[in-house]
Symmetry: C2
Subunit: 149 residues, 2 copies
DNA sequence: AATATTTATTTGATATATCAATTATTGATT
DNA sequence: AATCAATAATTGATATATCAAATAAATATT
């Protein structure tokens, strides 16, 4: 076995662990910053409101595809968002299986307020990483996604 | 704003989404392969048994650090592993707050059997990715981790 | 030695993930 | 129109994540 292959094996061994750790570290970091600024919303909830705002009339199924979540998870997150009064839901009269989701004024307000914080978080998290590196990161992640499908 | 900066912004916007999607796609893929091969164990459970095998006498706290999990999660995963009879636990007589964790014969058996499958999964998931790219991936992920701490 | 502090683990509460099964509705088939 | 198949969302069960609080034991302090 060549030196290069040995090194490859080690990297393979840790890549998924490091990926998991990175995304988890970022989540904890971002969530803490939300909490510290007094926002009572989770990152996942924020993502879903944003998806609805940017895609009026979107169905829960489509939300799930967009934010890469299971239908069951979407249902439950939306329940919480309705309870928190960031969303309103009605039965869709064209297709009674679906629901119409509307972001409330309060929901729009929190999305806007949180938006700058999210941008800051991303900036902090990616500080010192070169554009080329970021591109390779994205490209490689996409390759992993397609390899697993 | 230069072209380069604009592009940077877009990449920043999607990087965390793509990371999340990649790790989740891999998890689903790997877990499905375990299930399809008749193994009744989750990836997280497998990781924890492995940590104990490779580090005899390890405490739950240390396990948590190693596999990057909260103490509470470790406690609950270990409960399940004891119930599944892959682990045995006793009170540590040197420090009665800690517990001694021992992998059972059955536990060792499943780790070994699953090991090849895990290697295959990683190979499949990383197919077509160059060593240099993998290195940049790892380096960049580590930078994100340190940036968030 | 008694008290206070620290540490390891557990427990409770709440959110999310995943799969399977169910419900309600719609669209297609006969 | 009645039946069947497909689809959207929900629900149930179980696993994990996260934080805070509680418990129990060890260590440090007075």
């Amino acid at each position: 076995m060549t030196q290069n292959q040995t090194q490859m094996e080690k990297l393979k061994d840790i890549t998924f662990y490091t990926m998991d750790k990175a995304i988890r570290t970022y989540r904890i970091f971002a969530q803490k910053r939300l909490r510290d600024n007094g926002y009572k919303i989770t990152i996942d909830q924020w993502l879903i409101i944003k998806a609805i705002l940017e895609n009026p009339g979107i169905s829960q199924q489509e939300i799930g595809e967009k934010v890469f979540k299971d239908n069951a998870s979407v249902t439950r997150i939306i329940e919480l968002l309705v309870k928190s009064e960031y969303l309103e839901r009605e039965v869709n009269q064209n297709d009674r299986r679906k629901s119409n989701l509307k972001v409330t004024v309060e929901g729009k307000r929190i999305i806007e307020k949180v938006h700058d914080l999210v941008l800051e978080n991303r900036k902090t998290a990616l500080a010192g990483i070169l554009p080329e590196e970021l591109e390779i990161l994205n490209k490689t992640l996409k390759r992993i996604i397609s390899n697993c499908n």
